[in-house]
């Protein structure tokens, strides 16, 4: 099965560890990966700011780039960015050249944990991590992509990992793309409440499937001189893997 890696601009620019972990996990499960080099960004920063015309060029480039790999699936390490790819068919529905391509792209695009759990049918990725952690649910992954289950199911099975529920799971962390730079006064209050919630769990690690939220919450932790370790879910599922523990949905519990 061929998988095109939708790396996202944030991972491309800042977090090689996230992209690396995702690729390694996918390949471990038999995916042949490809990284389309002309991809840049899903277009949310400009589109969500109201720059519709400027955004079209971004969409076109991303569609052409990601489809160029001729892959069976397109997988990215960010619920929000993948949700944006799934929005393309709505946004470009009247575009004579791109409406169909947008649909093709959307149909085969998945967020990493969603792909692992729903498409590959992985229940236990074989990972081990001896820690207490909590999970931040990104708004776009939950509400726009509609993925509320996969990351929790996969994290549940990580050996020695104790997951503590995060209070006010439903509240946004205050990232919101350009919102975080445009409205820092409000964003600060939101991220402060999120940091307080994370601290209240006593968790040593904060996990999420969206690098941007982690960048926001972690950035505030750092500014407040509070201690935490930040891990993308791909990094957790790639940690100390024992392939003999790997389990799929259609497989009996005992090997």
């Amino acid at each position: 099965m061929k998988v095109a890696i939708f790396s996202t601009c944030v991972v491309d620019l800042l977090f090689p560890n996230v992209g690396q972990a995702m690729v390694e996990v996918l390949e471990r499960f038999g995916c042949e990966t490809a990284l389309p080099t002309d991809q840049i960004c899903c277009g949310q920063p400009t589109y969500n700011s109201g720059y519709r015309k400027e955004s079209n060029k971004v969409f076109y480039n991303e569609i052409d780039a990601l489809l160029s790999a001729n892959a069976d699936y397109i997988v990215g390490p960010a619920g929000s960015c993948v949700a944006m790819l799934r929005e393309y068919p709505h946004i470009l529905k009247d575009d004579p050249e791109y409406s169909q391509k947008a649909q093709e792209l959307a149909d085969k695009s998945y967020e990493f944990s969603q792909f692992l759990y729903n498409v590959l049918g992985v229940i236990d990725a074989g990972a081990q991590l001896d820690a207490t952690a909590t999970y931040h649910r990104s708004c776009h992954m939950t509400r726009l992509l509609g993925e509320k289950t996969a990351p929790f199911k996969l994290l549940e099975q990580v050996k020695d990992l104790k997951m503590v529920p995060l209070p006010h799971l439903e509240n946004c962390c205050g990232f919101g793309g350009t919102f975080s730079v445009k409205e820092p006064e409000i964003s600060k209050q939101m991220v402060d409440e999120k940091v307080d919630s994370v601290i209240s769990t006593g968790a040593k690690i904060l996990i999420s499937a969206d690098a941007s939220c982690l960048m926001n919450i972690g950035g505030r932790f750092s500014r407040r001189n509070e201690s935490i370790k930040i891990m993308h879910i791909a990094e957790v599922l790639n940690h100390n893997v024992d392939t003999s523990r790997i389990r799929y949905k259609d497989q009996p519990t005992t090997v």
């Binding site: 790396s7 491309d12 620019l13 800042l14 977090f15 090689p16 560890n17 992209g19 690396q20 690729v23 990284l35 080099t37 840049i40 960004c41 920063p45 400009t46 969500n48 700011s49 109201g50 720059y51 519709r52 400027e54 955004s55 060029k57 971004v58 076109y60 480039n61 780039a65 708004c139 776009h140 509400r143 006010h168 439903e170 509240n171 946004c172 205050g174 919101g176 793309g177 919102f179 730079v181 445009k182 409205e183 820092p184 006064e185 409000i186 964003s187 600060k188 209050q189 939101m190 991220v191 409440e193 982690l214 950035g219 505030r220 932790f221 750092s222 500014r223 001189n225 201690s227 935490i228």
Partner: protein, 492 residues
């Protein structure tokens, strides 16, 4: 237009909200409590998503055939001896009502909670009449009135920003001598308002839904003040936004069920009434019945991308889930319609000049869209507003227009992006700090505490990760990784 509640700039209002800790705590507490109640009430009903489909369908249908339904409703009210006035503007509506009050020689006016009358600033207009007094009879609105006409902060819980001691102080001015116990204070208000009610000669109500095929109006309350307003005075004036209409009692019933669950987590509120002009043989209820149907900017939404905003049934659920509202409260929005619905509706009613800030005051988390019982795509409409301001009106909106357009160019051009990828680590060198961070595994290549231009908004609040060297970024790693795979080198 008077949906505006403040002349202060948006950021000043945000700052004031941030300093109002009681308000922030109250809002958070209310949101958390309502989250549980609302979720439970919806789960108990079952098939909530299908109910939403039905709610959306009803509302979209009446908006689509709005002139027909308004005509039907108006004809039915008239047939029963009532009067209907169609008002284009707030001023037309307020003047019409003022004339009725004069004609009826009204001295004591009772009002039950109505956002539309706040919108047309009716209280002030009526109080300008000689020998006329007026009483807001909803407990919260009564408190606001007696506190020198303070502005509401929530469309369902208008006094969310006030604590019991503040309310006790307000009541003391009216002769109250009891404690700050909510029940004791409510009993005082009951008695105080009941005396006034019994002498009232004009009642003014809002309208949750107007029933087209019967000419009745549907009001949904918990306190019973609306029903007293419709029972005691000889004259009743109903003021309704033109979109608040349903075909028949059946659709009113559906929406009441969804409204009550969404607004306060109740199956039905204490009182859901379907009411019109007194009929022969009845001794109470209005013998004179007037309905004022108001546009006041609503028609700006018709035929545009913003038409879905007219689906709103004013349940306030979007306020109760909004993380922005949670922190800036109702006053932060500067409109009588706050929260996500207010951020969409206020610019439609009253333009971008006054309310252009509001659509940007959202992280687009879509909690509003998810909770809306009639499926208004609220966060999408916020993006639409941004689009109108940026793309069509070219409003710079104190945002770095050039930089954002630049971002559009950069993120659509692979070559420019690759240049950025190569230059970023080096480019950020003068900005980065060697100081150790308390956060593990986020700042593997250093961090930045003070970024220039657009980035300043970020670093005013939080540290920014420094980009890796080109040779260490994801694409470089992937290239190496692929090469190793092709060469058959196994990596550890």
């Amino acid at each position: 237009m008077t949906i505006s509640t403040s002349d202060k700039p948006f950021l000043t209002r945000v700052k004031e909200s941030e300093n109002d800790h009681f308000m922030q705590q109250s809002v958070a507490k209310a949101q958390d409590a309502q989250w549980d109640k609302r979720t439970a009430a919806r789960e108990e009903l079952g098939n909530w998503e299908q109910w939403r489909d039905l709610g959306e369908q009803i509302r979209q249908h009446v908006i689509k055939y709005l002139p027909d339904y308004l005509e039907q409703f108006s004809d039915n009210v008239t047939k029963k001896g009532g009067h209907v006035f169609f008002a284009q503007t707030d001023e037309e509506a307020a003047n019409y009502i003022k004339e009725i009050a004069k004609k009826k020689n009204a001295h004591k006016i009772v009002k039950s909670k109505s956002m539309v009358t706040t919108e047309i600033d009716l209280d002030k207009v009526l109080l300008s009449l000689p020998d006329t007094s007026l009483m807001e009879t909803d407990l919260a609105e009564f408190i606001l009135q007696e506190d020198d006409w303070d502005e509401p902060t929530h469309i369902v819980f208008p006094t969310l920003h006030k604590n019991r001691n503040q309310i006790q102080k307000v009541f003391k001015k009216l002769g109250y001598s009891g404690t700050n116990d909510p029940e004791e204070m409510a009993k005082f208000a009951r008695k105080y308002l009941r005396e006034y009610f019994m002498q009232a000669d004009l009642g003014i109500t809002g309208c949750n839904f107007a029933i087209a095929d019967s000419g009745l109006i549907n009001l949904v309350t918990n306190e019973g003040n609306a029903d007293l307003t419709m029972a005691i005075p000889e004259t009743q004036i109903v003021v309704m936004g033109m979109e608040r209409i349903v075909p028949s009692l059946k659709e009113a019933e559906v929406l009441d069920n969804m409204l009550c669950r969404s607004a306060v987590g109740q199956k039905l509120t204490s009182y859901c009434s379907f009411s019109g002009k007194q009929v022969v043989g009845e001794s109470d209820g209005p013998s004179d019945f007037y309905v004022v149907i108001l546009d006041n900017g609503r028609s700006n939404a018709l035929g545009t991308d913003f038409e879905p905003v007219l689906q709103c049934i004013r349940c306030g659920a979007c306020l109760n889930v909004c993380p922005i509202y949670r922190h800036i409260g109702g006053h932060g929005y500067g409109s009588i319609y706050p929260g996500p619905i207010g951020a969409v509706l206020s610019p439609v009613l009253d333009g971008y000049e006054k309310f252009g800030d509001l659509p940007f005051a959202s992280s687009l988390c879509a909690a509003c869209t998810e909770t809306c019982p009639v499926k208004i795509p609220l966060h999408n409409l916020l993006i639409k507003h941004r689009e109108v301001m940026m793309d069509k009106l070219k409003m710079d909106h104190s945002f770095n227009n050039v930089l954002m357009k630049g971002a559009g160019v950069a993120t659509s051009s692979p070559i420019l992006f690759k240049m950025a990828l190569e230059g970023d680590h080096l480019g950020s060198a003068p900005l980065s700090k060697s100081k150790k961070t308390t956060v593990d595994n986020l700042f593997n290549y250093g961090h930045i505490e003070k970024a220039p231009s657009l980035g300043a908004g970020w670093t005013n609040v939080r540290d920014l990760a420094r980009p890796p060297k080109h040779s260490e970024n994801f694409r470089s790693w992937y290239k190496k990784h692929k090469k190793e795979q092709q060469e058959g080198v196994s990596h550890d």
